[in-house]
C-alpha cells in the first residue's frame, strides 16, 4: 500500500528537526542496535502517510493547502465506543480484534481487512446484532406489529443514519430495503430476525467501518482541495475528541449547516472537551504517545525487581494516565506543567517505587519530593518502559525523548554493534554505556541520544530513585544543544525544566497531537494547518486544551488534498 513517496514525505520533518535541535545533530548516524524495540517489518496497511498527493516536497504549499486524507477504519477503541453509543453494548467486543499497531506510525491505526479480520468482524457483528434485537427498542424506532414494511423503512433511515454517521444515499437505502425483503420474504425470517440480519450487514458495511465521505456524492472541490461535508466534519470531530460516533448535538449541527465556519467548528470542539468522553480520548493520546500500554508484556528481571508484578504494572499505567488527565482537565492544562509538575498520582503499589507510604489500589494525587522527581518524564511508567530488564537504559530513554518530545527521526542502526556490558562487568550503567558509545559506529548517534538518557541515571529500571549505581555515585550531568542554545544540566530535573519551555518540544507536542488527530504523519500540505495550530497553542502560554479546537479548525482537518486516481465528477 505504501510507496516511496512515504519516505519522501518524511524528509521535510527530519530536516526541520535537525535544524531545530541544533546543527550539532546533523549528519549523525544512529546506533540503536542495543536499544531494543527496533521496529519491525510491514507497513501498517491502512497507513496514512503514503497517500499520493500530500504536497510536493521542496515547493512551499499554498495558504489554503491541506494534507491528504488516507482511508482509515475504526480502531479497536473507536469500534468499542461506537457500538456502546449506537447499540448500548458495553462488552468491548473489539478487544478481540488484532492490535491496531502500525510500525510505521506511533498512534493506533487499523490495518487492511484480511480474511481473518473479515471473519472476526462478521462474528462480532452477529453477536452484537443478536444481543441488540433482544431489546428491540434499542435499535427499532417503531413496532413491527403496526406495519412491518413501514417500520423497516424507518429503521433503515433512522438507525442507518446513526450507523453510517450521515443520511443514507438513495442507493444505500435501496440496497438495505432489498436486503430486508430478501430476509423477510425469500428467507422467510420473522420481522425481528430480518432486522437482526440487517444489523449484521450494517455493522459489516464499509460506511460503518471506515472513516469516509458519502461515496455517492461528488466531492466538493475548493480550488485544489476537497472540502469535507458537514456530517463528515461532525464525525471527524467526534472520533478525534471523543473516540466515538457523533452525539445528537453534532448531528443537529451538521444538519443545520453549523459546521462550516472555523469558529463553529472550534466552538463545537470546546463543547466536546467539557464532556467526559473527551477525557477518554485524551488519555488514549497520552497512552499511545508514550507507549505505556506496552508495559503489560514488558519483562523485568525478577531478582532485580521483585516488586514488579501485575499490580505495579497496572498502577504504572493508571498513575500516569491519571496524572496527564489531571494536568489537562484540572491542572491548568499547560504543557510546562505536564513536564514539570510537583505532583503525581500514586497508590500502594507505586508507593514502593516512590518510597512513600500511599495505601489503597486507586491512584490519587500525591506530592513529589521535588529534589528527586518532577513531571511526566520522571513518571515510573516512562522510566520502566525505557529501562532495561535489570537496570536503567540511557539509550532507550534518550531515544524516547528524542523521538517523542523532539520529534527526531533516527536513521537505521548500523550492524554488529556489541551490546553494552552487563552490570556484572563492574562500573556504573553510565560507564558501561559510555564505553559502548565509543564503538566505531556509535560516537555520532550516541551523542544525540545519550546525554538525554544519562540525565535519568538517578532512576533504575522501574523508576526508583537512587544515588548510587553498582556501588558508585550516579553521574547524571550533561549538555544538550536545543533551540539553538547549548544547555548544561545537572540531572533530569534540570533537563526537564529546559525541555518544558523549549520551542522544539512545544512544536513537537502540537505535531504529535495533530498526528493523533489525522492518523498520519504530516506532509507539506499541512504546513498552513500546523502554523495555525502553533499560533493557537502559543496564545495561552501553551495550554494543551487549545490544541484540539485549533486542530479541528485547521485546513487539514476539514479539507483534504485530492488523491491520485480519484474520480471527482
Amino acid at each position: 500500500m505504501r510507496d516511496s513517496k512515504q519516505a519522501i514525505a518524511g524528509v521535510p520533518s527530519l530536516v526541520s528537526l535537525v535544524v531545530g535541535v541544533g546543527a550539532a545533530l546533523a549528519g549523525l548516524l544512529a546506533c540503536d542496535a542495543s536499544i531494543g524495540g527496533d521496529g519491525a517489518p510491514g507497513p501498517g496497511p491502512l497507513d496514512g502517510g503514503g497517500s499520493s498527493s500530500g504536497g510536493t516536497v521542496g515547493v512551499g504549499p499554498a495558504a489554503n493547502a491541506a494534507g491528504p486524507r488516507p482511508l482509515l477504519r475504526l480502531t479497536r477503541r473507536e469500534y468499542n465506543n461506537t457500538v456502546r453509543d449506537l447499540l448500548g453494548d458495553t462488552t468491548h467486543p473489539a478487544d478481540e480484534f488484532p492490535e491496531d499497531r502500525d510500525r510505521a506510525f506511533l498512534f493506533r491505526r487499523s490495518g487492511l481487512v484480511a480474511t481473518q479480520d473479515a471473519d472476526l468482524l462478521r462474528t462480532t457483528a452477529e453477536a452484537l446484532a443478536k444481543t441488540a434485537i433482544q431489546t428491540p427498542s434499542r435499535v427499532l424506532p417503531c413496532d413491527g406489529a403496526s406495519g412491518e414494511d413501514a417500520c423497516a423503512a424507518r429503521f433503515i433511515a433512522e438507525f442507518g443514519k446513526r450507523a453510517y454517521r450521515r443520511p443514507l444515499s438513495d442507493v444505500e437505502t435501496m440496497r438495505l430495503t432489498a436486503f430486508y425483503q430478501n430476509a423477510r420474504t425469500t428467507q422467510q425470517m420473522s420481522f425481528n430476525d430480518a432486522i437482526e440480519t440487517l444489523l449484521e450487514g450494517i455493522l459489516q458495511s464499509p460506511a460503518f467501518l471506515y472513516h469516509w465521505e458519502s461515496p455517492y456524492e461528488v466531492p466538493k472541490l475548493d480550488g485544489a482541495v476537497v472540502q469535507l461535508g458537514a456530517y463528515d466534519v461532525a464525525s471527524r470531530l467526534s472520533y478525534f475528541i471523543w473516540g466515538t460516533m457523533p452525539d445528537q448535538a453534532l448531528f443537529d449541527a451538521a444538519a443545520a449547516g453549523k459546521l462550516t465556519a472555523d469558529a463553529d467548528v472550534a466552538a463545537q470542539a470546546r463543547r466536546m472537551l467539557a464532556d467526559d468522553k473527551a477525557k477518554d480520548a485524551a488519555t488514549a493520546f497520552f497512552r499511545e504517545w508514550l507507549e505505556i500500554d506496552q508495559i503489560a508484556p514488558l519483562p523485568k528481571d525478577a531478582k532485580s525487581y521483585p516488586d514488579y508484578d501485575d499490580a505495579l504494572k497496572g498502577a504504572l499505567v493508571s498513575g500516569t494516565e491519571a496524572f496527564a488527565r489531571s494536568v489537562l482537565f484540572e491542572g491548568g492544562g499547560k504543557l510546562e506543567t505536564l513536564l514539570s509538575a510537583d505532583y503525581t498520582f500514586s497508590n500502594q503499589a507505586l508507593a514502593k517505587v516512590y518510597g512513600t507510604s500511599a495505601t489503597g489500589n486507586t491512584v490519587s494525587k500525591t506530592m513529589l519530593d521535588t529534589s528527586q522527581r518532577l513531571g511526566l518524564l520522571m513518571e515510573p511508567s516512562f522510566l520502566t518502559l525505557t529501562g532495561s530488564p535489570d537496570g536503567s537504559n540511557p539509550v532507550k530513554r534518550g531515544k524516547a525523548i528524542y523521538t517523542k518530545l523532539l520529534c527526531g527521526v533516527l536513521p537505521p542502526p548500523p550492524p554488529n554493534v556489541p551490546p553494552a556490558k552487563p552490570a556484572t562487568a563492574g562500573g556504573t550503567t553510565r560507564q558501561r554505556f559510555a564505553e559502548h558509545s565509543q564503538n566505531e559506529c556509535a560516537r555520532g548517534c550516541h551523542t544525540l541520544m545519550d546525554p538525554l538518557g544519562f540525565a535519568f541515571e538517578h532512576y533504575d529500571g522501574i523508576g526508583r530513585y537512587r544515588t548510587m549505581d553498582n556501588d558508585q555515585p550516579v553521574d547524571s550531568t550533561g549538555t544538550i544543544a536545543l533551540d539553538g542554545i547549548d544547555h548544561t544540566f545537572a540531572d533530569a530535573i534540570q533537563l526537564t525544566k529546559i525541555l518544558s519551555t523549549s520551542d522544539t518540544v512545544r512544536s513537537c507536542f502540537a505535531k504529535q497531537w495533530f498526528r493523533f488527530a489525522v492518523g498520519r504523519e504530516e506532509t507539506d500540505g499541512d504546513a498552513p494547518s500546523l502554523a495555525a495550530i502553533a499560533t493557537a497553542f502559543a496564545t495561552n502560554q501553551f495550554d494543551m486544551r487549545d490544541l484540539a479546537p485549533a486542530i479541528a479548525a485547521s485546513r487539514s482537518f476539514r479539507y483534504r488534498s485530492l488523491a491520485a486516481g480519484e474520480v471527482t465528477k
Binding site: A7, A33, G37, P41, A104, D119, P415, P418
Partner: protein, 441 residues
C-alpha cells in the same frame, strides 16, 4: 518406507468414503476409525505444507550439525525424527543483501515466505507478492473446496503470510476461536447448517455490494484497501460453500492465556485439521520479530525477553540456546503428532512438509545471509531427508564458521517447496530463478 505419492491434481481423498462410512455420528467416532476410513480411500493422500516462523536467528554452532546428519544441540527435540528431517544450511535473503539491507534481519517477515522485498522507507518494508502458503492453497482451491483453504495462525507476533503485494494475511491468535472455526460445524445438524449458510451468504452478498459501491470514486491507494477487504469477503463466501469435514476434535485447552499453553493448543488443532483434511496449507508464527512485541520465556527461567536475550550475542547464548531448544520442542510436537497418524504405509508427516524459517542468521548481528531453515517430512517423498545439505559458499562450513553469505537466494528453496507441493514452478518470488535440486530424493 514406501511413501504414498499423490497425483499432481489432488482429489479430495476419501471424503465420500469417509462420510458414507461414518454417517452422522462422526463427532463421536474414535480417531482410529476415522484414520482407517481415510486410509481406505483410493485417491491417495493429500500433501500438506506447514510453515513455522519465529525470529532472532540461532547460535550457529549449537544449531548447525557439523557431520552431515541432523543432530545438533538445538535440534535435539527432533532426534527421533532425524530420518525425516532435512537441514537446509546456507540460503540468503539475497535481494535484501543486494539492496544493502543486509542487517535488517528484524524486517524480513514480508520476505521469508514470499521471496519478495519492497522497501517502504527506512527499515520498513512489505511483500511484493504472495507467500508460498498462499500460492499452494490457491492451487489446491482450484481442485478441492476445503473448509479452511489457508490456515494462518499467529500465537504471537506478526503474520509472515501474504495474500499478495502489501496484503498481509492476519493470523488467528485465539485458541477458542480457532477451535470453533475448525471443528464446531462438525457438530451442527445439517438442516440448520443450510439455513445458517443461506443467511450468512445473504449478509456477505450485501457487504460485497456495499464495498463495491463504496470505493467507486476513491483514489488508487484507498481503492486498493477496499478491494482487499472485498477479496476477504469473497474468501468467506467461498468457505461457506465447502462442506464441513467430519473430524474428531482434539482435546485441547482453549481457555488458557499462558503462552506455552496457547502454542500447544494451536499446534494440536493444526495437526488434527491437517489429518482431517480441513486444511492443507498452514502458516504458523508464534513469536515476535523485531522485538516490537517481545515474548518472554519465564518458564525457562529466562528473566528477559527473547529479543533482549538474542541481542546479547555470545553473552546471551546459554539462554538463547535454551529458548531455541524449546522452540524446536514445539516443532517436534506438531511433527510427531502428524507422524502418529498412519496413512497407507506411511504417516501424515510423510505426506507433509513442515518448513521452519527464521528472520535472521544470528540474534545480535541481524544479518540476512545464512538463514537457518529446517524441513521436516519429505512431502510425499519429494525431499531426501535425514541429512544436512550445505549450499553454495556454505559447502565447506564446519565448526565455528557458520556465517556469511552462501550466495544462494532463498527463492530457490521456496520454488522447491512449491514443486514439492505439486505446484510446478521454475522460480518463486522476484529476481532469482531456479530451485534446489540438491534437496530432492
Amino acid at each position: 518406507m514406501t511413501l504414498i505419492k499423490t497425483a499432481k491434481n489432488q482429489l479430495r481423498f476419501s471424503r465420500r468414503a469417509l462420510l458414507a462410512s461414518i454417517g452422522a455420528s462422526a463427532a463421536f467416532l474414535p480417531l482410529i476409525d476415522a484414520e482407517r476410513a481415510q486410509a481406505a480411500g483410493a485417491d491417495g493422500f493429500p500433501k500438506r505444507l506447514v510453515t513455522i516462523t519465529w525470529g532472532h536467528g540461532v547460535c550457529s554452532n549449537a544449531f548447525f550439525p557439523s557431520d552431515g546428519t541432523t543432530n545438533s544441540q538445538v535440534l535435539k527435540p527432533l532426534e527421533s525424527l532425524a530420518a525425516k528431517t532435512l537441514v537446509v544450511a546456507g540460503v540468503d535473503y539475497k535481494m535484501m543483501i543486494e539492496q544493502d539491507k543486509k542487517y535488517d534481519g528484524h524486517f524480513t517477515y514480508p520476505v521469508i515466505w514470499t521471496g519478495t522485498y519492497k522497501n517502504t522507507g527506512g527499515q520498513n518494508c512489505t511483500s511484493n507478492g504472495p507467500s508460498i502458503d498462499q500460492v499452494v492453497s490457491d492451487a489446491i482451491a482450484k481442485e478441492v473446496a476445503l473448509q479452511q483453504p489457508l490456515l494462518v495462525i499467529t500465537v504471537d507476533g506478526e503474520s509472515p503470510s501474504w495474500r499478495g503485494a502489501g496484503q498481509k494475511n492476519t493470523g488467528e491468535g485465539d485458541t477458542k476461536r480457532l477451535f470453533d472455526k475448525l471443528f464446531a460445524s462438525a457438530t451442527t445438524p445439517s438442516a440448520d447448517l443450510e439455513k445458517i449458510r443461506a443467511k450468512k451468504k445473504s449478509v456477505l452478498d450485501f457487504v460485497s455490494g456495499e464495498l463495491t459501491g463504496f470505493s467507486a470514486r476513491m483514489g488508487t491507494e484507498d481503492k486498493a484497501k477496499i478491494d482487499s477487504h472485498l477479496e476477504s469477503i469473497r474468501q468467506l463466501e467461498k468457505q461457506l460453500t465447502a462442506s464441513a469435514m467430519a473430524c474428531v476434535p482434539p482435546t485441547v485447552m482453549t481457555g488458557s492465556k499462558v503462552f506455552q499453553d496457547r502454542v500447544a493448543a494451536m499446534l494440536d488443532m493444526t495437526a488434527m485439521a491437517l489429518r482431517c483434511d480441513i486444511t492443507r496449507s498452514v502458516s504458523i508464527c508464534w513469536a515476535d520479530d523485531g522485538g516490537y512485541r517481545p515474548i518472554t520465556l519465564p518458564w525457562l527461567d529466562i528473566n528477559s525477553s527473547f529479543h533482549d536475550v538474542a541481542h546479547l550475542g555470545k553473552d546471551g547464548y546459554p539462554d538463547k540456546i535454551k529458548a531455541d531448544i524449546w522452540m524446536y520442542e514445539q516443532v517436534a510436537r506438531l511433527a510427531k503428532s502428524l507422524d502418529s497418524a498412519v496413512e497407507g504405509t506411511g504417516t501424515a508427516l510423510d505426506n507433509s512438509v513442515i518448513a521452519v524459517g527464521n528472520d535472521m542468521c544470528e540474534g545480535s548481528a541481524h544479518y540476512v545471509g545464512g538463514i537457518p531453515f529446517v524441513l521436516i517430512g519429505s512431502c510425499g517423498g519429494y525431499f531426501k531427508t535425514g541429512r544436512t545439505v550445505k549450499l553454495g559458499n556454505w559447502a565447506n562450513k564446519t565448526g565455528e564458521y557458520w556465517n556469511g553469505d552462501s550466495n544462494v537466494p532463498h527463492n530457490k528453496l521456496l520454488a522447491s517447496l512449491s514443486n514439492a507441493m505439486d505446484v510446478p514452478t521454475t522460480s518463486f518470488g522476484e529476481g532469482y530463478a531456479g530451485a534446489l535440486d540438491e534437496l530432492k530424493a
